[in-house]
Every structure is written in structure tokens, then in C-alpha cells.
């Protein structure tokens, strides 16, 4: 079912291998940008394969040359020559210097928009490619110079040429992230209804481009107030969920884009009840099952890129479901969800350990109020694999201990299944750590175990657990709980 879809993501993974060093630098830059709330990325769409090889070979164009090629494109006598002039211009526009010269040149953008709307389809296409190069510029000023073209780009989205629509969508997607001013123009110009009509396209490439443009729109700082309400009012959410429905038609490239869109919507908490009404929880849960199924058979397909937003969406949505409804919601009482999540945790551990906390966060949200899923965790023998993760990092440790507390606090029947077993050596270890949060969560778990399974206190005492606790007696945040536990262990 996933076979033909993997190719897209695998290709990305191959590129990564070669570009490891450059990637590390970019990763650091992205982290910095995120902390400064400036995390934006653009996509570059270039068509002809010969060009990729020649990239960099294209010359920087000066003012006179730009003028020459524009005039040729506008007034040449032969259509082929006009097209070629635009191709040369576009190749030149791959350079920032040419881009800057271009936007400074008076009337240049007007001429380009004129070509975009002229009556020669191939010239229109080349003009759109020029605009796309400009939209991808690293300089805001260059991309913002494309503003006069947006109403046309949006109008062309209702056309019939899927290539052209795809190009317009990626160009719009690049412009969207440039500034709030751009978005303030695109919204009244009708970008939301335009996307809502494009999302019904039969072309896969168009759908992926819609997902990209929409995800760019949703990342805007003002999205929760200005953009998400419009989107929730449109038909987009239902179509997005349809495109994430597992089954033979699911395309992972498209699903990745829309899963991120959904994440941006859900974590903004505008009207998540509406999404739940549209069946978001069951779609996401089924997709999680499907993903777990696929990662077992497929290597290096980049599926963590899809798993990550799916997990976030499910986890955040679960906080909005009433306690008594968690198990009632379709699929969420299903123990296969827990099985799938563990298979994905194992996948993350091998592929992208930095995503483990997100998976454990979902496990917390699933088990917090669900005796059914806590029972599944016990009956599927998942406590031991869970404990194996706890040594990875303090953050992972706290999350693992919290999930165990979720199970333990349900009472004696649960604690009887937790103790003894591998939990004792694990706790004997975590209480000796220096991280206050890890120790604190261990103390909470010990107290629940001592209360509901008194044997645990005896075992802990025999294994010199109390001496281990001794080292935290002076720590303000821990000392009360340490004393209380020692009391219980010694005097019952």
C-alpha cells in the first residue's frame, strides 16, 4: 500500500547522507531561528533536470541585460525567442545580485506581471517561474517586490493547468511567510477559498503544494486570531482529514503537509471541538496504526516526518476530550493504539531519538484517564520496554515515570501487576540521580506503590533504597517527601 509513496521521502533521506555537515549547520541555524520565533522555510521548485546540474553556471545579470531580456520577452517577434529570453532571465534570477538589480529596475515587476497575464501560455509559465525564483529569495525585500502578482497567482489557482497551479502555489507559499503585510493582502484577495477549491484537485502534486501553502499560512504569528477561524469556517478541514485517511490512496508526501497543517491548527486551540466532530481523533488514531504497520517493513522512508505531527495532533486533541469520553472515542480504547505507539517508540529510538519525548507525551495523555489503556500496558507486557527507555535522558526518564504513576494511581489491582519485576532496580537507580524532577517523580511513584502494594516498601527497604534516598534529605524540593517515604517504609 505504501510502496510507491515511499520514493518521495526516501530521496530526501539519501540527500541527507551526503549533506550531513551542511545539514548540521542548518539545523543549528533553524534552532536559533525557532528560539527567536523566526522559524520560516521556503521551497524551491525547479523543473528541468539540466538546470540542476548547471546551477551556478548561470550568469549574474546586470541592469542592461535584465532590461534587454525583458524587452525581448515582451516584444520579440518570435515566440521561441521570447521564451528563451525569459529562461535566461530566470536563470540569472537564481543569484541574489540579479534579484536585487531586478527589483530596483523601474517597471521590471510590472513587465513581469504583464507577461504572467499575457495571452501566450508558455510565456506565462516562464514568467511564473521567474516570480518563483524571486519568491524564494533570502532577502525579504526581493520577495515583497512580488506583491503586485499575488491577485493573479490566486486567480490562476482556479485554472486547468496543474503544473502552473503547482508553481503558483509554491510561489504563494514562499511569499506567505515573508511578512504579515503579505498575508494581510492575501487574505482579502481570497486565498482561503482558493485553497479550498484547489484541495479538491485530482493531481497529487497540486495537493502537496496546497498542503505546503496552507502550512505556511498557518505558521503565521497572527494565525490563531486572523487565519485559523477562516480556515475552520471553510471546507478545508474535512478535505484535509480525508487526505490523511489511511488506505491505498494515502500519499505520504501529501499527508505530511496536511498533518503539519492540522498540528498548527490544533495547538492554537481555536475550535478543536469542530475537528473532533469531523472525526479527527479516529482518522489520526487509524493513521497511527497504519504508520506503525509500515515502519516495520520500510527502512529509511522518512516516516518520522509524518509520525511526529500525527502524534502531536492526537496528544493535544486528547486534552480536549472529556475524561469519561477518552475510551468511548472510537479507536482510543483500542489496545492496538498502545501497541502501535510502542512500535513507533522503538522506531524513533533507532531513527530519531529526539522524537521519543513526543511519543511518551502521547502515552501519558492516553493513559492519564484511561484504566483500559493502563490495563493494556500491563497485559501487553510493555512495562519492561518502557523502563528500558528511562536511562536515555532526564526528560525521557520523567515522562516514563509519569506514565508509570498514571498506572499506579489507579489502585491496588494495578500496583500488584507493577511490582515486583524490573521496576525495583529501575527505581533504585533513578532515586540516586541528581535531577530533582526525575527524583521527585520517582518519589511520587514510590509513595503510590507503598500505599497500594505494601510489599513494595519492604522490598525497597531490603535493597537499601532508604540509604539511596538519604542523599536528598537536604534538598528543599524533595526533603518532605523523602522523610514521608522513610517513615512509611520503616513504620508501615
Amino acid at each position: 500500500m505504501w510502496s510507491q509513496r515511499q520514493s518521495l521521502l526516501r530521496r530526501v533521506a539519501c540527500g541527507v547522507e551526503e549533506l550531513r555537515c551542511r545539514r548540521r549547520e542548518r539545523e543549528a541555524a533553524l534552532r536559533k531561528a525557532r528560539r527567536e520565533r523566526q522559524l520560516v522555510s521556503k521551497r524551491l521548485l525547479r523543473e528541468a533536470p539540466e538546470e540542476a546540474a548547471e546551477e551556478g553556471a548561470a550568469a549574474v545579470l546586470g541592469e542592461a541585460e535584465i532590461q534587454h531580456f525583458l524587452r525581448l520577452a515582451q516584444r520579440g517577434t518570435e515566440e521561441k525567442k521570447r521564451e528563451e529570453a525569459l529562461v535566461t532571465l530566470r536563470q540569472g534570477l537564481q543569484h541574489l545580485e540579479t534579484q536585487q538589480t531586478f527589483i530596483r529596475l523601474e517597471g521590471s515587476m510590472q513587465t513581469l506581471v504583464g507577461l504572467l497575464t499575457c495571452n501566450r501560455a508558455l510565456l506565462q509559465l516562464e514568467a511564473a517561474r521567474c516570480l518563483h525564483e524571486l519568491s524564494h529569495s533570502e532577502q525579504s525585500m526581493v520577495a515583497e517586490a512580488c506583491l503586485p502578482a499575488t491577485s493573479y497567482l490566486l486567480t490562476y489557482l482556479s485554472g486547468h493547468s496543474s503544473n502552473f497551479i503547482e508553481l503558483c502555489l509554491y510561489t504563494l507559499g514562499n511569499l506567505i511567510v515573508e511578512s504579515e503585510a503579505v498575508r494581510k493582502q492575501l487574505l482579502p484577495q481570497g486565498i482561503v477559498p482558493a485553497l479550498a477549491s484547489c484541495i479538491q484537485s485530482p493531481h497529487m502534486a497540486v495537493l502537496e503544494a496546497v498542503g505546503y501553502a496552507l502550512s505556511q499560512l498557518l505558521q503565521a504569528k497572527e494565525a490563531p486570531e486572523e487565519i485559523i477561524p477562516c480556515i475552520l469556517n471553510s471546507t478545508l478541514p474535512q478535505h484535509m482529514l480525508q487526505l490523511m485517511q489511511p488506505g491505498p490512496k494515502l500519499n505520504p508526501g501529501i499527508a505530511v503537509e496536511f498533518a503539519w497543517c492540522l498540528h498548527y491548527i490544533i495547538c492554537s486551540q481555536v475550535n478543536n471541538a469542530l475537528l473532533i466532530t469531523h472525526g479527527a481523533l479516529s482518522t489520526l488514531a487509524l493513521l497511527l496504526l497504519d504508520l506503525a504497520e509500515v515502519v516495520q517493513r520500510t527502512e529509511d522512508a522518512g516516516l518520522e516526518l509524518l509520525a511526529c505531527p500525527v502524534i502531536r495532533c492526537l496528544s493535544n486533541l486528547l486534552t480536549e476530550v472529556a475524561v469519561e469520553d477518552v475510551e468511548g472515542q472510537m479507536q482510543l480504547g483500542d489496545e492496538r493504539v498502545v501497541a502501535a505507539l510502542f512500535i513507533l517508540l522503538e522506531f524513533f529510538l533507532q531513527k530519531q531519538p529526539s522524537l521519543l519525548p513526543e511519543g511518551l507525551w502521547l502515552l501519558n495523555n492516553l493513559t492519564a484517564n484511561s484504566p483500559t489503556l493502563c490495563t493494556s500496558l500491563l497485559s501487553l507486557d510493555l512495562i519492561e520496554p518502557l523502563l528500558q527507555l528511562s536511562s536515555l535522558s532526564n526528560m525521557v526518564s520523567v515522562l516514563v515515570l509519569t506514565v508509570l504513576c498514571n498506572v499506579a494511581e489507579k489502585g491496588p489491582a494495578y500496583c500488584r501487576r507493577l511490582w515486583p519485576g524490573p521496576l525495583l532496580p529501575c527505581l533504585l537507580n533513578t532515586v540516586t540521580l541528581s535531577d530533582t524532577e526525575v527524583v521527585g517523580q520517582s518519589l511520587e511513584l514510590l509513595q503510590l506503590l507503598f500505599l497500594y502494594q505494601p510489599e513494595a516498601a519492604q522490598d525497597f527497604l531490603q535493597q537499601s533504597g532508604l540509604q539511596a534516598l538519604e542523599r536528598h534529605r537536604e534538598e528543599v524540593q524533595l526533603q518532605d517527601r523523602v522523610r514521608a517515604l522513610q517513615q512509611t517504609a520503616l513504620h508501615g
Binding site: 534552532r31 540542476a52 503544473n163 484577495q189 497529487m204 502531536r312 486528547l318 513526543e358 509513595q447 503510590l448
Partner: protein, 255 residues
């Protein structure tokens, strides 16, 4: 991480929920100094918990160039001419032809052969230009639909509509899709009669405000024909000619 071997079988098996063990909570569980309460946690978008995943997502976005590099070559074929009656465009690649066909003949008016970028604009054009009832009705009620898809506003005349589009939708004042009815150059046979009868009713408006340098007023004139720059050089009397073409879908370059 060692997963029990039965887990994979369980995932592949039928849906089913476990019979939950009995829940029995004691009030002592939350007695001070302890206070664990199980709770689902929500993270907002900017939370640092999401940093790693967000960075992965953006690396993926930026990597797209490596995918596109593998685009298939255009399918070169011997030069051929567009088959739509009256259109003489010549092509050397199927993709170019397909694009031309969609752009120039996809939403063309069968009465005057103008090409429109969308069905919405074509519908508005047919109504406003070729529907004899339209002018009669327009005198009594607002009939000019807003050209922005999804907007339901209607106006008394095109000037009001233009004002609305510029003010409310932030369209450029020289928006060029609503072409004027007056044709200054020689027009297409068949369309002339229609145009001339309507010229009087035309309030001289249109969005094409500026025949400035960028409107390509000196668009090239093909050797074979002379057209007004305002009229697409493609004629399409009846769109049926190539209907079947759309099914020859181009290979998707991403997949």
C-alpha cells in the same frame, strides 16, 4: 528496547479494548507532601518541547530541492500544431502543448474565443457579454458579480465592482482579467458583431486601467494573423475539439 514478540501480532489483529482492572483510589494517595495527579498535558505551538520536531520539519521543507532535481525530461516530439480550430501554435514538447491547451482553451468563451484563467471568470464574462437578458436585468438590480471567487457581492456596474475589488479585496487597480468590451484593433471574425452591438451599453470601464508599458500593448503580432492584443490569439469555437486530451495526464514529477 525489546518489544514482546506478540506485540506486532497484536497490532495486526482485530480491534479490541482490554477489560480494565478495577480502579480503587485511596484518599491517602494525594496526602501532602505528595500530590501526583494524572493529567493529559497540552503543549502550545511555541513550546520548547516541540523544538526538535519543528527543526526536522523545516529541514525537510528546505530539502525539497533534492527531490525536484530528479524531474523527468520533457517528452520531445516532432513539432506539431495545436489542433483547436483557428489556433496555430506550434509545439515541440507535449508538456508545453498541454499547458497551452489548459491555459488557452480550458476556459475559453465559445462565442468570442477569449481565454479566461478560471471558470468563474468565464461564467461572469458569458453572463455580462453574451446574455441578452443581462443588460435588461442590470438596469433594475445589481447584476455584476464580484470577480473574486467565494465572494457573493453584486454591483450596479463594473466601476462599482472595481472599486469594491480594489478596496475590499486589495486587488491592483489595473487588474487585467476583466477586459474591456471595446476592441480597438481588428478583432476576430464572429466576435465583432457581438462586440459592436454591445459597445454602446459599455460604460467604458474595465479593470484594464493602464495601457502602461507593462500591459504589453505592443504584444507581438504573429506573422500569420493580426489580433488585437486584448483578444487571445487563440480561437476556440466550441471547446469540444480536444476534450479527450485532459486524460493524458503528465507524469507527476514528485512521485
Amino acid at each position: 528496547m525489546l518489544l514482546p514478540s506478540a506485540l506486532r501480532a497484536r497490532l495486526a489483529g482485530a480491534p479490541g479494548a482490554a477489560e480494565p482492572l478495577p480502579v480503587e483510589r485511596s484518599p491517602a494517595a494525594r496526602a501532602a507532601p505528595f500530590g501526583f495527579v494524572p493529567r493529559p498535558v497540552r503543549f502550545p505551538r511555541e513550546h520548547e518541547f516541540f523544538e526538535d520536531g519543528d527543526v526536522q520539519r523545516h529541514l525537510y521543507l528546505q530539502d525539497v530541492i533534492t527531490q525536484v532535481a530528479e524531474a523527468p525530461e520533457k517528452s520531445r516530439v516532432p513539432e506539431f500544431t495545436c489542433q483547436v480550430a483557428g489556433c496555430c501554435q506550434v509545439f515541440a514538447a507535449l508538456e508545453d502543448y498541454q499547458h497551452h491547451y489548459h491555459m488557452m482553451h480550458g476556459n475559453a468563451c465559445s462565442l468570442c474565443s477569449r481565454a479566461f484563467p478560471s471558470e468563474h471568470l468565464l461564467d461572469a464574462h458569458i453572463l455580462e457579454w453574451h446574455d441578452s437578458l443581462f443588460q435588461v436585468l442590470a438596469e433594475r438590480q445589481d447584476m455584476y458579480q464580484c470577480l473574486v471567487e467565494g465572494c457573493r457581492e453584486k454591483f450596479k456596474n463594473t466601476q462599482d465592482r472595481k472599486d469594491h475589488m480594489v478596496r475590499l479585496h486589495l486587488y491592483p487597480a489595473d487588474f487585467r482579467f476583466d477586459k474591456p468590451k471595446t476592441s480597438r484593433g481588428p478583432s476576430m471574425p464572429g466576435a465583432i458583431a457581438d462586440l459592436s452591438t454591445r459597445t454602446l451599453a459599455d460604460d467604458g470601464d474595465a479593470m484594464e486601467v493602464c495601457p502602461s508599458p507593462m500591459t504589453l500593448s505592443s504584444a507581438p503580432v504573429s506573422e500569420k494573423r493580426t489580433y488585437s492584443h486584448r483578444v487571445p490569439s487563440t480561437i476556440c469555437f466550441g471547446q469540444g475539439a480536444l476534450r479527450g486530451f485532459k486524460s493524458t495526464k503528465k507524469k507527476n514529477k514528485h512521485h
